[in-house]
Structures are given as C-alpha cells and as structure tokens.
Symmetry: C2
Subunit: 210 residues, 2 copies
C-alpha cells in the first residue's frame, strides 16, 4: 500500500461512463448501471485503508431524470442497491436529494437528511440521489442554508469517464476542490485509479484561493 504525505479529508466521486461502458460491451445502455455497484464497494474499502474520512457519491440528478424510463429505473435501482450494500458495514450513511419528487426512491427515505451510523463509523458516506443544484440553492435563498448543508467542503473530486466538468455536483462545496479526471469508464474501476488520484493530490498546493 502506498503511503501519502497528505490525503484529502473529503472526496467527491462522479462515477460517469456506465452507459458508454455498456455500449462498448454490446449491452443495452441501461445495463451499465448495475456494473457500477461493485466498484463503489471496492472504492469504499480502499478509502478505509487510506484513512479517508468522508466521501460523497454523485448518484443521480434531476437532470438525469430526462432520460428514458428503462435507464431511470436502472440508475435508481443501482443507487438503492449501492446504499443497501454499504449499510450495516462501518460507514455512516447520509442521502441528500429532493424527497418530494416521485423520482426519489422510497427505500432511501430512511437515510434522507439524517445520517445513520453503522458499525465502527469509520467514514461518512454521502449519496446525492435525485439531487438538483437549483433545488440546493433555492433552499439557500429561502432558509439561508443549503439543502446539502450537512455535506462539508470537498477537497478532491474524482470523475470517471473522461468528461471534465462538474455537471451540477455540489456547486458551493466544490469552490476550492481539486479535480482529477480518469478516462476509464466507472464500471472499469481499478485500484490504481484512486492511488493515482491520491498521488496527484498530495502534490497540489492547497491555498483555498489565497
């Protein structure tokens, strides 16, 4: 195991490329999502090893709901299954997303806006489910706090699938984040991805804009 002189406190995970992975493997696009669950679990185990204290997974967004029903069902199920797989382990789980819309899966209501602690509570794992950056900011306008106010500043954002953008991921918590892009698709997750990202991150000069 590599030793890093500095690891991020909080990592943002944008697990993109599931549909492109499916097409490349001659599968229906919607069938990519279920191949993204095991990578999430592998990543969780690696983050424990490296002493990462918090991670936020970009599940799905209001924007994603514009896709066809088969895909919507598939990415929703993948989120539900991922949270189920990680519950009962050693992570404290929190789901942030608009629960007032029918697109929010009932199975995850128990984790919505309320962190549930499991086992030794070694890491905080947050999932953005039916998240919408505008909804997040509207609450700021109304109540002077974000809907996602329980999620702190993100130090490092890792995005799979090659696109170099945030796609609405936590705009306020990302103002000082460093971005690391992996060209491989998320279902092709490989341990070297996180090692490379952490290796790159330790050399970044964190100034918080100063």
């Amino acid at each position: 195991m590599e030793v890093f002189k500095r690891v991020p406190e909080h990592i943002g995970i944008i697990p993109d490329g599931n549909r492109r992975w499916a097409s490349r493997n001659k599968l229906d696009k919607k069938d990519g999502y279920k191949h993204g669950i095991n990578p999430g679990f592998e990543l969780y185990e690696m983050m424990l090893e490296y002493g990462i204290k918090e991670a936020t997974f970009y599940g799905f967004t209001k924007d994603n709901n514009k896709r066809e029903k088969g895909q919507r069902d598939a990415f929703t199920k993948a989120c539900v299954d991922a949270v189920a797989l990680l519950s009962g382990k050693d992570a404290n789980l929190l789901v942030i997303g608009n629960t007032e819309s029918t697109a929010f899966p009932k199975e995850l209501l128990q984790y919505a806006n309320k962190r549930i602690n499991f086992g030794r509570g070694l890491i905080n794992l947050n999932f953005l489910v039916n998240y919408d950056w505008e909804w997040d900011l509207k609450r700021l306008m109304k109540d002077q706090q974000l809907e996602s106010h329980d999620i702190p500043r993100v130090d490092l954002i890792i995005r799979w699938g090659g696109c170099r953008r945030l796609s609405g991921f936590l705009p306020v918590q990302s103002v000082y984040s460093d971005f690391y892009i992996i060209d491989d698709y998320w279902p092709d997750f490989n341990k070297s991805h996180l090692v490379d990202a952490l290796s790159w991150y330790q050399a970044c000069d964190v100034t918080l804009g100063g």
Copy 2:
C-alpha cells in the same frame, strides 16, 4: 485560422501562474502580474477572430487580498491597466466585484455592475475584480439574485498554470462548464493555447447534466 464546428458562447479565463512565472524568470513575484496584460489583449483579439461572444476574466478575489501589499498593489494595477487597454476598442465591458471594500480600485468604479459599450460592441468582456464567491451567494440569500446576475452560464473555462480547480470562480455559472487546463503560466500565453482549448471543446458532448 482553424475552423471549429462549434465554439463556446462564453469562456471563463483563469489566468494563473504569474508569480511562478516571475520566480522562474528571476524576478520578484509581484513583477509577474504586469506581464499578464499583453496576453489578455492577444486573447481578446483571438476571441474576436473566432466569434466568441462573451468572456469573463478572473482578475483578483477577496482571497487574493491575503497576500502581501506589494503583490496586492501589482495585481490591482494589472486589472486596472487591462481594462484601460480594452476600453475604447470593440468590447462591452463589465466589472463585477465588491465595490464597498477599499480593495476595489476606484478607477474601475465606472464599469462596476454597469456594462459600458465601446465601438462595434463585438464581445462582452467581464472582469471579476475583488470578487468573492461568498459575497456573490450572500446577495442570492438576501435579494434572490446573485451579485453576478449579469454574467450568464459559462460554457468553457480555461485555466493557465496547471492547477485543476475553480478557486471560487463563479460557482453558479460554472455548474455545467467544461474545464480545460493549460500547464504553461499565463504570461507565457501562446495562440496555440486557445486553439487547443477550442479544438478540445468542439468534441465535448454538451448535455447540461442530462
């Protein structure tokens, strides 16, 4: 001149690396900023050629004001000189930043929160001067609109100097932006930088999160 099948409407410019450029050239750090003015003018002329309709330059921020006085004076003067150089040409100029602080240069008050049109008005050029993302969002909380509400969504953000982060650049307008990072320092601006960025951008699939 290259022909692109699709150019961004609005480019964000993060001209970083002035101090590192100065150190590498055995100059005092503060002396890097003045070498960043001419690159801005070259970039302006190139953007006209390529039909870019709007650009926002990251001048300096409240966070930057934590630096020593010599540097503060130098980056403030560079912003004032850059705007002066571009006034009277064919651009419509707008400055967004906290004018209530003494760090805001008086010379730029005439452009603050009010766009001034020059010549043929071929491009909108915005400058963030004494900008602060928290100040921008506080106005959203108070008046239901950003301080930077006159600046629209940014399509492509180009950052010089190798760091892969936003450093507080317009968090709301950047939610869907594509990021292009140039390792060279800003004073080493070269025409190929913009050409490479536009060439990369035309191949990005713009989905606005969908």
